[in-house]
Symmetry: C4
Subunit: 258 residues, 4 copies
């Protein structure tokens, strides 16, 4: 595999779909929120994305069956014909390298544009490093009009105090270059764990902005499951980092002979 | 050299060959096992693989003659015409970068598919960090049917507890995307040394699953030889890491002037 | 986005333009100086440059509107028709990788050459690690004739004592290979902060060499604004480095699952 | 600049030239030796090689004139028409990345093959970490016949105890894949300094193997000059590493905004 590949499972016709990115990130806020939406509202997977920029590995899933590193697109039809449909981007990883991030975001935008998407939401977490009190959701956007919409939804606007790293930032930036407009909703989280409260807060704000209503009762349960997956992932991550740091530990060293 | 190159030493016709990956990894379990099979059963090298994704170096072998960083394919004809032949992938390294891993695994799959391979085994080690007691081999697979076969061979199924990093994972994942099915056998090992016992355990389970019978008496001897090679390799590895970490040590620094 | 893209906002005809590079660097001396020139003299932005070699992120600007990682070209017409026009290269980042630096510098040189640029100035800082006394500006150049011009402007010539890393060096080197000549002006700076004094010193020397006269009264004010931006940037930088160093901190980890 | 570029200064016809690689490395043994040969015997530079895989920087040379990161080919005609001519590869850097090393070595081999080179010597240092006593030169080679030639020159053969990292190893490996034969001469050196004694020892052995006679009286003087250059280089190296390690020091950070 030398290039990113889109495996289309179903050809779809969507009505002015809104594209919502929710790849893994800080506190897995966005991922947790949209995995829940997909499950509760029965969104349909229609594209699998494989890429040489993903970590070179597989995961071991339930019952010993492997899981690929993958990004996926789901669609959700609006209840009314007059309303926007949705495309969700979820997965178990982001691209590893700088160039990989640009290539992946660009490829996905190419794809969702052909389906008519002109509007983007990216969901993420913002680590505070301490317990979160008060409003949990911060917003940023591609333009002033979008900022106004966020304000109308009573979302605190993030002031000029840093950046948005990875897919949640890049989709907005690269999207705007193509004339798409978008917003990023960031759930404040201590950052130490998978944060169901932050995910719930983001979902509540999202439901004001777009026509998604979802019961969040099972969100904490889902968070617990995700915590278990993350724990495994961090273990692998730690192993890779230890290797990179040169500690002579009993790990699968990709780089050497024998 | 800008791309991975396959140097074909012999054109072969194989009967529904089973592809078995055994590149260097944790405890060099897979490598040790299959190097032993190749030697004992007289498998024939028919392809050498060179790649710009391998470490930029050569090794100094016996008598001062250099050895390339290389992956190799061997074939072994089944004793009966009705049985599967075998293709083994061995070597002294894996690809260094993320993209390199994907490129190499994809290229090898392209090649073995043209020879009719539809079934994959990947052999590796699983570091426990402590002495291993009881069953030594864990299995994972691309699908439920494969998992059943592993269970029938009395192989413990690895539960959802992490991933398989590098070639042993990627061959299964990329293979499944092409409709190939496969299993990974992981020999538990403390991980601190080249583990002949883990290799023997993996070979015994493999011989139940496929038609390979091999005497393992000399496996410990081979492990000792491999330990010596590894020791040299780790020394080089350490040197490269020291360099990367910026320690001002007397090493061949590729990055600077003079 | 797979390649560097030049978004041309205005087609321009320039008279033997002098190309001046002032991307972010040590003490942000060059950036501070030329951002000030652009503002004070009313230079016009005519090209935006986007690249997959830039950091994969966006910044959050005033009022929550995102800012792309970008390099920009501005032009400034000379007051007299007989005099050189100017092209300024500014931005909020440099390329991240080795190959990215070469690709970006080469692409920009391709572009400004088509506009007739044959002469280059690169502006940077030189960290002293201690308070700076006496002359603040050091010069280096592509050839002896240029060195003479620097000496005539009473600029101290940097002796053979190291190198010029990044765009300020590479533009001179790659430019000379195309037959362009150029000079680098380096403002000595303690390096601990955004240094308006160093920027002012560089601007004063530049004004002797080329026909740019600018009031520097507001330079300290601009430095203060830049300090705030930098502070945010360093925070992000630190987060990325912490991640890379494997500290289990509450950060958006691009590399993993959930 | 997106690919490695060969700038040919003179078209030459050479008689079965021997190709000798002497890029910077441990103790700068090879570089020191061949820079001396080029100077003393008046070899002629005929190719300059520029590459996006070199460090993205320039050096500041004598009088403030910049020096490119560059590799260079020199030729030296044999005294007798019946004897081998020589091609020397020298420079102030090696490729930075794995793929860069392969690309550069492959490109140079392509080039020198068209000039008729079929025989390779690579010169390097071998760090001992302690004062060197007795024989100073170790050899390795692409084949047994070459090993015999080394033994006839009374060169100790390096036993199977590690590898040869970088250009000195890769030229032999990639050369052999094209049917070229070659040897590596490694001068043992404590590794803590630029080692004129190791360079002299390598030159003496080389003069037995090929027809190069050179007075080594000025070698120590040259070593001293090289030490000064190296000192500057290490300073830059250290700066780059500090940056990479995330220390908030006053350096030209390529990765960030302002």
């Amino acid at each position: 595999m030398r290039t990113t590949q889109f495996k289309v499972l179903e050809e779809v016709n969507l009505n002015n779909p809104i594209f919502i990115e929710a790849l893994p990130g800080i506190g897995h806020v966005g991922k947790l929120a949209i995995d829940h939406v997909i499950d509760e509202l029965g969104a349909t997977k229609f594209v699998e994305i494989y890429s040489p920029y993903f970590p070179p590995q597989v995961l071991v899933g339930e019952g010993g069956v492997i899981e690929d590193m993958v990004n996926e697109l789901y669609y959700l039809k609006a209840e009314s014909e007059d309303d926007h449909d949705f495309i969700f981007l979820v997965g178990n990883c982001q691209g590893l390298s700088t160039e990989g991030q640009y290539e992946l975001c660009g490829s996905v935008l190419d794809f969702v544009e052909t389906l008519g998407a002109r509007e983007i939401y990216t969901l993420g977490g913002l680590a505070t490093g301490q317990p979160v009190e008060g409003d949990r959701v911060l917003g940023a956007a591609t333009d002033e009009a979008r900022i106004e919409l966020l304000k109308e939804a009573d979302i605190e606007i993030r002031s000029a105090d840093g950046g948005i790293v990875g897919a949640s930032g890049l989709f907005l930036g690269l999207g705007r270059l193509r004339g798409m407009s978008g917003s990023c909703l960031m759930g404040k989280t201590p950052g130490y764990f998978i944060d169901a409260e932050a995910a719930e807060a983001v979902l509540k704000k999202l439901s004001i902005l777009v026509n998604i209503e979802v019961n969040t009762d099972k969100l904490e349960e889902r968070a617990e499951e995700t915590r278990e997956m993350i724990s495994k992932a961090q273990q692998m991550e730690q192993e890779m980092l230890n290797r990179a740091m040169g500690q002579q530990q009993p790990q699968d060293d990709l780089r050497y002979i024998g």
